[in-house]
Amino acid sequence: MALLEVKELSKSYGNIKAVGGISFEIQKGEIFGLLGPNGAGKTTTISMLSCLIKPDSGDAFVDGCSILKDSMEVKKRIGVVPQDVSLYPTLSAQENLVFFGEMYGLTGSKLREKVDDVLEVVGLTDRRKEAINKYSGGMKRRINIAVGLLPSPKLLILDEPTVGVDPQSRTNILETLKELNKKGLTILYTSHYMEEVEFLCHRIAIMDLGKIIAIGSLNELRLLVGERDLLRISTANEISKDLVETVKKIPDVSEARVLDESIEILTLHGRKLLPQIIEIFGDAGIKIKSVEVKEPNLESVFLHLTGKELRD
Amino acid sequence: MLKKIFNIAINLLKITLRDKGALVWLLVMPLIWTVLIGSMSGPKSSSNTVPVGIINLDNGTYGSNFESYLAKEKDIVIVIKKDETELAQLVKDTKVSVGLIIPQDFSDSLKLNRSVEIKLLKSEKSSSYFIEELIGKVAKRMSIDALSANFALEKLNTLVQVPETSKPEIWERAYKIADAYFEPSPSIAVNYKVLAVEQKEQNVAVGMNLSSPGFAAMFVMMGVFFAGAAMVAERHHGTLARLLTTPTSKFSIISGEMLGFFLLGLVQFLILILFGQYVLGVNWGNSPFGVALLTVSYVLAVTGLGTLLSVFVRTSGQAGAFAVLVSMVTSMIGGSWWPIEIAPKFMQSIARFTPQYWAVNGFNKIITRGFGVSSVLSNFYVLIAIACVSLFASVVLFRFE
């Protein structure tokens, strides 16, 4: 039996269908990613799975317990790391952990041990007595995770845990999660950062507009774009919209998008096309600085599937 | 630069006036408060007459004398009752301010030079000091009359043999002679003159009365502190940095904000003054120029102090806590709540450090004593001094943030 089974979960707010009937499964020991742009419905899904809001229809089962009927049981099995640092700013890390541990029903020596434990996992043991409002953004996120670990959950659910975090803390967090997973923790990880999801997750579901539009391992998803390559060309000058349109019109090119001082082109036979593209650029007076031929990433998958960009 | 200062000020005003919480403190609360206090210490009955209940059990005629002497006093209305329990109830319900029971043997005791007691019923609920004084005077009058009649008769008897049957008549005659010294008013009397402006109401600045200037002063301070300092605290510690990157000098910013508070306080004070004048009947109009001077200087002083406060607090919650604390305590000490005279001497000295003291003192000079501008110049100067010192302190302290 899958650790998490989601069956046709739906939630609307008025006329807006935030989540429109999604289903997926997470196996024990997996790190499962939920990838999608802001507004895709990831947070709403998480809120339903954490039993914070009631779905309009559908159900989900954590270790066999229904979020509709056995929410208390579900809560005992999951740890939630929400998007916001929902802690008491004037209390110390230790005090926050103790309090929430109590909320999870931990007491006495068991509580103390667990608190020590999670502090060590996130590497904040020596700063446990400081008030949360003195922590940096990265540290706050780490404590956030620590709280999620308090109930020794079967499933850890994280919602955009690295937003606004410095690169070092981010790496730290990702490494920690990988470690925990190696020790047997199943993780549901949502983000709109492609690199993290690619790094961390065994399987990924891509969400857009409340629906899951693709699901599978990274390789499986890449295959969705077919035998396509991702060309990345960085330029010295700006690339005009007309130029992008021109590139798009080239047969075999499926998508092209402009980033800062570079352009990404999703196309078949990337290597073969390169000379043609370089020529077009040359004619337009664009100076090319470097060229990369990459395997398509999740951004390209997303772009291919939806015509939109993952990141705003 | 002036235009920028002005703009910042107007902006502050706008933001504050839109803030419903600020409006509560600026206007709603002071108005409610003034009405509450005002209805409490005002005259007891609308027509300013004081009812006194009397039960006259006297067998003779002098009991009614007592009644009529009392009735002659201005503003007293005698209510005749027969039953003691009924009278006691009236007193308890404050339907009469006091009750008097003249005993059966009143006239007899007078004639026998024997002391007699009139029972006075009063309740803690109504302050009857004034009435008791009047009653005491009437009692004294009758004592003197009776003593004189007795004395005269006694001494006469030592000189001339007075036949028993004539005695009552002589007594009564003597009584009348004595009593003549009390008409139309006591022959030896005290001429009491309060050096104040003629008021429509009897009592001027008595007890807790005449609180309109005092409470207005308190609420203006609270208003400026609450609305002003609170606002600025947020801004200074959140957005001041941003403001400073614009081509606006720190001086302009602070001046603009202060101008904003100042206008706020001024408008608030004006509204409270008008309210006091037209709704509570306080006469602020004796010297408009004097009132203007005091108002402006007081608001300046409060603005300065508010600015000083804003240097020390970081959030509006903190500003709120201090605003209420400082305003209430300095107002109490400074004489906003009660006449300074009832406080111990050392407290009265401390009071001089509060702006409220100088404002209330100044307003009383104008409203109560009826003086003009020149009398409040010293108050004006002190308030301006407070303003300057606190502003200076704010600028200096803020620099080292």
Binding site: - | W33, S115, I118, N203
Partner: protein, 404 residues
């Protein structure tokens, strides 16, 4: 459920850490009680205060001297009256206008002569309108003097008037006896006495400090419970509610914990104020510990309920923060915490009964004044608890509907 306690304790901890809450909830009431107690001490216990007054003596006659030397300088009044002798009425008015003298007694030329001659005479007293209590005292002192003088003169004059028709009496004989008689008259006591019987409820007199300790402590309860109510919004904002909800905690447990937290913070505050004022301000809260305790509990319950109701109506933390103190002050006033209730007009008295403050105050005053015991404050406790139930009911329903 243990979790209710954990939540409440957490709230208590948070409040205890907050410096500004400390100022608002503890420092302020204690300072106010102190100020009020000090200021009102003389008035309440009628400790004599000192009156600065002036005397202008144009008369220099016998009766003026008696007033100045025998009356003002008597043992009774000597310590109370601080007399400055002035030379002119203008000077007198000047000093009064400056607030330096509460009253000035002016004895006009010919005063004593007029009295001797049996003519009308008067003493002028000029008063400072801002010191009406003190000038009133001066007035009554001078008045009792004039009445005494009047008494003597009247008695003598009455006799003379009575004896006049008797031609057999020799005027000169009478003249000789008058000095003796005057001595007799001196000892004549008043015949007509007025004796008051006040509805005295109290066996103990409560000093000002005690009265205001109760009034302020009760008023500040609302500050405390309101700050607790603010945290309802705060936790929404911090999203810590959601955090707690992702743990296996029932809605009702969460809510109960919050309410208990509001109660605890206010109760602790009240306790501290009671103990502090008892230890350092010398306030006696009464002899019945159980009475005090149950009244404290009922009062805190009532206010906790009120703040819960308030939280269910308010739209934001800031609203509670700004309207809250205003409500506290108004309730505090209406409950009789600042001015004694017996000064209220009838309508205000009625309105006052709708505030928890009034009932709490009545209960505590009973305990303090009449040494009431537990049973005697049960009525007040009953009303407070009923108010609590009503407030809690409505507040809870509304909050649940909105989703705490």
């Amino acid at each position: 459920m243990k979790k209710i306690f954990f939540i409440a304790i957490k709230d208590l901890k948070l409040r205890a850490r907050d410096f500004y809450a400390f100022i608002l909830l503890l420092v302020m009431p204690l300072v106010l009680i102190l100020v009020l107690g000090i200021v009102f001490k003389p008035m309440w216990t009628s400790t004599p205060f000192v009156i600065d007054m002036g005397v202008v003596d144009f008369d220099n006659g016998e009766f003026s001297k008696i007033l100045i030397n025998d009356v003002f300088d008597s043992d009774d009044l000597k310590s109370m009256l601080n007399i400055t002798f002035l030379d002119s009425e203008a000077e007198a008015k000047d000093r009064i206008n400056q607030g330096k003298l509460a009253a000035v007694v002016i004895l006009n030329r010919g005063f004593s002569d007029a009295i001797m001659a049996g003519e009308n005479a008067s003493i002028e007293v000029l008063a400072d309108p801002e010191q009406s209590i003190k000038s009133g005292v001066v007035k009554s002192i001078v008045e009792s003097y004039t009445l005494e003088v009047l008494k003597r003169r009247t008695m003598v004059e009455t006799f003379l008037g009575t004896v006049a028709p008797y031609s057999s009496v020799n005027p000169q004989d009478i003249q000789k006896m008058i000095p003796e008689w005057l001595k007799e008259i001196e000892n004549e006591k008043d015949i007509v006495l007025v004796k008051s019987s006040t509805e005295k409820k109290s066996t103990n007199e409560i000093p000002a400090m005690g009265y205001y300790a109760v009034g302020m402590a009760v008023m500040y309860l609302l500050f405390a419970t309101n700050s607790g109510a603010e945290t309802i919004f705060e936790e929404r904002r911090l999203k810590t509610y959601d955090r707690i909800r992702t743990a296996p905690v029932h809605e009702n447990v969460l809510f109960g914990g919050k309410l208990l937290g509001i109660f605890l913070v206010a109760f602790v505050q009240f306790l501290i104020i009671v103990i502090f004022t008892a230890l350092f301000y010398g306030v006696s809260w009464g002899k019945s510990l159980s009475g005090i305790f149950i009244l404290m509990v009922s009062s805190v319950l009532a206010f906790s309920g009120f703040s819960t109701l308030f939280a269910s109506i308010a739209k934001s933390e800031e609203q509670i923060g700004s309207i809250g103190p205003a409500l506290s002050m108004i309730f505090g006033f209406l409950g009789g915490g600042m001015w004694p209730v017996f000064l209220f007009p009838q309508w205000m008295n009625v309105v006052s009964k709708f505030t928890p403050n009034r009932w709490a105050l009545d209960g505590f005053l009973k305990l303090m004044e009449s040494n009431a015991n537990f049973a005697q404050v049960l009525p007040q406790c009953g009303v407070l608890v009923m108010m609590a139930l009503l407030f809690f009911l409505i507040g809870t329903l509304r909050l649940k509907a909105r989703g705490v």
